[in-house]
Symmetry: none
Subunit: 422 residues, 2 copies
């Protein structure tokens, strides 16, 4: 079944709103094994709308139109559908009944704007709208089945699941699709592609392997269909997880902080933070996860040297002789945080986020990270080629991952970060 999508609305073209409806439609139809083949978005212009409907219908079994069913003058979908069908719009009794009832429930009588929504292409079917005034339209044009749906997401959603999808499922029954999404940290997109090329050359055609970067976490997606897609995925997933190895955080939705928190919980450990260059970002990411309080008593944002000395007991001598961005200081920060919070494990970071503050010796992008227990504290130095925002985000991500790796007894550094070590 070949399905196209036509979105209409000046606000979509002007960038005033971001289209989330097409993602909702794609998500909902995906489990039925269908996908959107082509998506066209145009403004509220009648000629353009008519020509797009005609072109899209020539090339598809199904066309979903979204938007343009409202009460205002720029809502043109009904008129466009009438024109391409060579008919006219006229009062639709069921649509009128719905509108009358809809207004009555809300305590006002039908006005001219609302009445306009009862004027539909002659002979079309309607699709019930349980949330709003605009009914949907169903009609056949050429060999294409057209559904016209409202642009308001909360009205579109039930229309899709109650009427459009069941109709399609009846007309075009298909195998359902099974998808597995894995969260990965510390491998680049091209790095994974290389690994796949060299280690999964026997990968079967019926399981699609896709990647998506939403840095710093990368998503690896396995998709299959057929008579028993679950079993098919179960059979091949281990090959991928083996390849991703220590870089695999788990099945999505998983985030770096929740992966680290899970590791802490499973081992009954408490983590604290001492942040300079990340300025509270690590703490904030940890505490964005509900239930973080079980494993995270708190931390110190020691942005100034004075706070490093006062709250984390970093020696004035180290600060003066080695500088704030140094191994001595980062180790003292970690120990100071453990002492102050009573946690088992610390993350401490100190670096130069930029754009200013770098020197020949310690350029922007230099960072020292210390992590571990008071007894077994590790420290590394990295040089990261990112701007301020990305620098903070990568240092936070890596810090959380270093702790996860240490708790789970995995290799010390993720692949992607080795090149930045100094």
């Amino acid at each position: 079944m070949k399905l196209h999508l036509l979105l209409t609305g000046n606000e979509l073209m002007a960038g005033d709103i971001i289209d989330s409806n097409s993602a909702m439609i794609a998500e909902q139809i995906k489990d039925y094994g269908w996908r959107i083949n082509k998506k066209v978005t145009v403004g509220d212009e009648l000629d353009r709308l008519c020509s797009e409907i005609n072109q899209l219908c020539d090339d598809a079994d199904v066309l979903i139109i979204n938007g343009g069913l409202g009460p205002t003058v720029d809502d043109l979908t009904a008129v466009a559908l009438a024109r391409v069908s060579g008919t006219e719009i006229c009062e639709h009794p069921q649509a009128l009944a719905h509108l009358t009832q809809w207004c009555k429930t809300r305590g006002f009588s039908l006005n001219a704007s609302n009445y306009k929504q009862a004027m539909l292409p002659k002979g079309c079917d309607i699709i019930a709208n349980e949330r709003g005034s605009a009914v949907g339209i169903k009609l056949k044009h050429k060999n294409c089945l057209i559904f016209a749906s409202p642009g308001v997401p909360s009205e579109l959603r039930p229309m899709l699941s109650n009427e459009i999808i069941p109709t399609l499922d009846n007309l075009f029954p298909s195998d359902h699709i099974q998808t597995l999404r894995l969260g990965v940290f510390g491998l680049g997109e091209s790095g994974i592609q290389e690994m796949v090329n060299s280690h999964l050359s026997d990968w079967p055609d019926d399981i699609e392997l896709g990647f998506r970067a939403s840095m710093p976490v990368l998503e690896v997606k396995l998709t299959t269909r057929g008579s028993n897609p679950e079993a098919r995925l179960r059979q091949w997933t281990p090959r991928v997880t083996e390849l991703l190895a220590d870089h695999l955080l788990g099945e999505l939705p998983i985030s770096l902080p929740s992966a680290t928190i899970n590791a802490l919980k499973a081992n009954n450990l408490q983590l604290c933070t001492a942040e300079s260059c990340t300025g509270g970002l690590i703490a904030s990411q940890l505490t964005s996860v509900a239930g973080a309080s079980q494993v995270y008593p708190g931390g110190i944002v020691s942005y100034s040297n004075q706070v490093k000395a006062q709250l984390l007991n970093v020696s004035e001598e180290s600060l003066a002789s080695d500088g704030a961005v140094s191994e001595h200081v980062v180790r003292q920060m970690a120990l100071g945080a453990i002492k102050a919070t009573g946690a088992d494990i610390a993350i401490a970071v100190t670096g130069i986020a930029g754009p200013d503050g770098g020197s020949a010796d310690k350029p922007v992008g230099t960072v020292w990270i210390a992590w571990g227990t008071a007894q077994e504290l590790k420290a590394i130095k990295l040089q990261l080629p990112f701007d301020r925002t990305a620098f903070q985000s990568w240092v936070a991500a890596l810090s959380l991952d270093l702790v996860r790796r240490q708790i789970l007894d995995l290799p010390e550094l993720p692949q992607l970060m080795k090149r930045f070590q100094r």
Copy 2:
């Protein structure tokens, strides 16, 4: 000038990601008086891509292609452009130089996947990518000028403003549109609309007044064109700023943390933080601003009671009798942070972000905020009807705004928050 947009990517068709790039493009070109006429989105299929490029070029002066420039096998834009141009892809010296340099900076050598990104349609021009590996492509097909740009928003943005828009501005000069964007905190969208309706009834037709919510900050936008749009805006802007009054943060790009940091700098004051329920978010937002170290020595994330007592000197007695979410505790947190960091002003927050941890007495959404100097410390209690993420984000925003208001001697609370005060 007629401009079409072609977006490519299976992830866009599958609903895995929501396209925000086309809104970014529409926003940026709008100021030049241009708009997107038609937008087509297709998956990563070579035949479909080629036929769409051909069709769109027949009907437009300019085609912007977005996506499909990456290193993986499903990135097909370069190949498609070569095919429709009747040429082939070959190594592009400038692209190769960029890639080599890009890899070198990151400490690894060019692999096959990255090398693929140097293979471009013969004879095309490149568009520099200052943020990523994939250069853009510029070429003429039929009578249409094509720009191919990367799908990663942070790479697309500078490419648009540095190269694509200046090129178009040169080829298709038009009346410029003058736009003024104001950042506002503490007024709702409908609240502003009401204010406009009742106080700006004489607003002129040639200046468009628009709102855009990117909560917690709201954008108010004035747009005009004509022979002297700057003067026209200068004339009417004071009417709007007067209306927004203490809720106006300044001209965008302004953020809440930078507005607060500006106020601190102007008054030579230092701020510290003591965060419980926001868990470092306030600190993180402050330190996301370059130069924050001038006014922000640091803070404490006192997630556990033990850390509140140990690092902020909150009395065990208050914690036991009043509970962690109480006026006594939040005031002691603020004083403790000032003492520990040596700052002039503190923000302290303690509350119940949820989803768990609420009680009949202190339901989820309860928060105490204290702010001010040791001598003049204020505290308020609010009850916020938001989920965990929104709760943390609004508490952080309000806290920063309370400090800004105090320093600038503005009314204590923004309009929108009054209804939540308890």
